[in-house]
């Protein structure tokens, strides 16, 4: 029974990867087509935006409604595919959880599975507030790499939960960490776009498709809004982890390698938030900080888990 469910879970994951691949291609086609026909409307819209931004520091929502919305067919298809892939992805995670009888984030394979599902889930959900579909290539690419490495390099068959993980803090601590990762991932993607866009606005040679994206200030503000949510989740992760460490190891903080890196990430993003309020650090520099922060998250998840010695040795490998 357990093995059957586990194999269904893998089937769902592989299907999700197939659908994500299609979505990735569609998103890429969309971006390519955008470069080909940079619409005049987008140009006009951009002018209006900079104008608005020149007067006030915070950006407006109103401009989105006032500018005629460019229609991107491939983007719509791609986004529909992402939603479909995500449903399969979540089904894969849920089946894995049902197969083993506890939450599907107790080893590296499962954490890859769940955290990438959370990243895509956050990407889908966030469209309700902001149209960030242009990040589709980045997000589906990220999910594909994570799932690919997860299933090929980290896969382990269903095993019982080690006693040291048998705690409800596993549910809270790790899930909140993956939520934080999801927001940081999108924040880093937006910061990357901000850097490219700022380069274009400074007159550097750049991709034509950037003309269809929001301007650099708007991108920076979006990145900030997404990243601070990630920061709050990360703070929760840190505190929940400390409480669990106290219950499990008898101390709430012991500078274990994973604790060190969680701390480094937290401090880096604290720096990012301060950079917004520091003259000379807005724009490119704070974008770099967001990218460095997310790289540290990835480093913490891969290199620290696999190569560094510490108490958080739950990779299952």
């Amino acid at each position: 029974m357990t093995d059957t469910l586990d194999s269904y879970s893998l089937v769902a994951i592989y299907s999700a990867m197939g659908v994500y691949t299609l979505a990735f291609v569609m998103f890429a086609l969309d971006l390519a087509k955008r470069s080909a026909r940079v619409p005049a409307v987008a140009e006009a819209r951009r002018g209006q935006l900079t104008n608005a931004a020149g007067i006030i520091t915070t950006l407006t929502h109103g401009d989105r409604d006032s500018a005629p919305k460019a229609r991107y067919k491939f983007e719509r298809i791609a986004f529909a595919l992402v939603v479909l892939g995500w449903v399969l992805h979540v089904a894969g995670a849920v089946l894995r959880g049902v197969a083993q009888g506890f939450v599907p984030w107790a080893n590296m394979f499962e954490f890859s599975l769940t955290s990438s599902a959370v990243v895509v889930g956050v990407f889908i959900a966030i469209q309700r507030w902001h149209d960030l579909k242009f990040l589709g290539v980045y997000i589906t690419g990220f999910a594909l790499i994570t799932l690919g490495v997860g299933t090929v390099n980290f896969y382990v068959p269903v095993k019982p939960l080690p006693p040291v993980l048998d705690s409800y803090w596993l549910v809270i601590h790790v899930f909140v960490a993956s939520l934080g990762t999801g927001f940081f991932a999108i924040g880093a993607g937006l910061s990357l776009a901000q850097l490219l866009q700022a380069g274009r606005e400074a007159g550097r040679k750049s991709l034509a498709l950037l003309k269809t994206l929001p301007n650099a200030i708007k991108l920076e503000n979006l990145a900030y809004q997404v990243t601070v949510v990630g920061f709050v989740f990360w703070t929760f992760t840190l505190i929940a982890g400390s409480i669990w460490a106290e219950r499990s190891w008898g101390r709430y903080w012991g500078w274990d390698t994973k604790e060190v890196w969680t701390f480094i990430i937290w401090v880096t993003y604290a720096g990012y938030i301060h950079a917004r309020a520091t003259r000379g650090w807005r724009g490119a520099r704070s974008s770099w900080l967001a990218i460095v922060g997310f790289s540290a998250v990835m480093f913490n998840y891969t290199v620290v888990n696999l190569l560094f010695k510490g108490l958080h040795s739950y990779s299952g490998l």
Partner: protein, 507 residues
Amino acid sequence: MRVALFLLLLLAIAAVPGSLVPQRTSDPNGVVKYRKDNPELAQFLDSIQAFDVYTSVWFSSIYLLLFLSLIGCVIPRTLHHLKALRTPPPKTPARLERLAGFTTVDAPESDAATAIDSARALLRKSGYRVRLFEGPHLSVSAERGYLRETGNLVFHTALIGVLASVAIGGGFTYTGQKVVVEGQPFVNVLSDYSSFKPGRFFDESMLPPFRMVLDDFSVQYELENLNAYGFPTDFTADVSIYAPGEAVSRGAVKVNEPLAVLGSDVFLLGNGYAPRITVADGDGNVAFTDIVPFLPQDANLTSIGFIKAPDALPEQVGMIGFFYPTAAELPTGALTSSFPDLLNPVLALNVYTGDLGIDDGVARSVYALDIDGMTQVAGGDSGAAAIRLRPGETAQLPNGLGTVTFEDARSGSPETANGNRDSVLRFATFDLTHDPSRAWVLGFALLAVGGLLTSLFVPRRRVWVRAIEQENGGIRLEYAGLARGDDPALDTAVADFAARHTAGLKS
């Protein structure tokens, strides 16, 4: 802000080396090994405190400077905020059209006094602080979101609280480890701990008097899932606590479930087997009999232990023992353990004679045997095979040195329904921690989270409504807002307010 940013980034970078080099506090054995493998590099690293990064001078100075700059920032900002809290909203700017979310609505039916009055009421209901201005045109100036700055200050002050709790509370913290074998007691006095780490203000009188007996240690193994056969799924240490003047209380310590005992917490950290071994010397006298905790080396609990019989005659005897709970023979003839429970327990002993090196008064670890001054007489290259024993068996030591017995822990009838399961005692490693700073740290951390949430997500904004009387009667209403800090929803908020207010005027 620039100083804070610089110190934050510096702190992040300074924390990195501590994850690359083993640290004395979290991985003392790693440090020992590192020093052995790279003696010269280790000496250099030690001189820059790289094995104690998080208590080093340079790391401490960064975070102390950071907190100093934090205090230097929080105090003036608090004073400024207290003043701002008592200051009414500022005068309505002359030209609202240059501000965010500027909206105009013509209300031919209304008059200025009614419109501004209702705007004021509506703003006040939405949590704004309001103030009326006569000016050339009647207007209302409103501000909200003072909680944003309050949250910011609470967050930063709470961080100072966390640091202070750790610094002060850490002095009263103590933590100690003790290896306890089934059936044996642990007495909460300093001398009974295997290792002990006191805080700065620790005093032995702080240890509450009690005795804890490990009644039973049980482990559950996975037997159905072949992918994880022999995987432990539960560890339980059943203990009895004897405190003076109180009835005996029984409790269980599990992983993730510490037991609270008289203001301290008892944690289960590790476990293993502790065979009882008796050595009789060549003259037939019992030279050694004790329960020896063996240290596990792998997941199937192949374990190593050391037996020292200094009183053996004619020569001192030392043994390095390998214990296999479920022994299986490798193709090479060597033994290995294939399951962590006691299905086929075998003890293999390499025997040495000579000077144990413990007569000169130097403290020696019980978990090591210095074989430098000794001759191997059984096992390895000695020519004689290593001694292999099952529970209850006795073997002759070579050269008439005497006998060694692997005692069966089952008294009376050895063969029970449990097979060999009870033939060897288990031990548990306990950690006893007393940390009065915990609650304070948690309290301040939660306060910090609350402060963080309000400082990031409560928008601080000003909103103005002005009524300009028109020549043809009626009024023209102007609405605008100003963000103070990050406020992505400002335009929507102004537009929504304008819509609600106008709708109210019409009805």
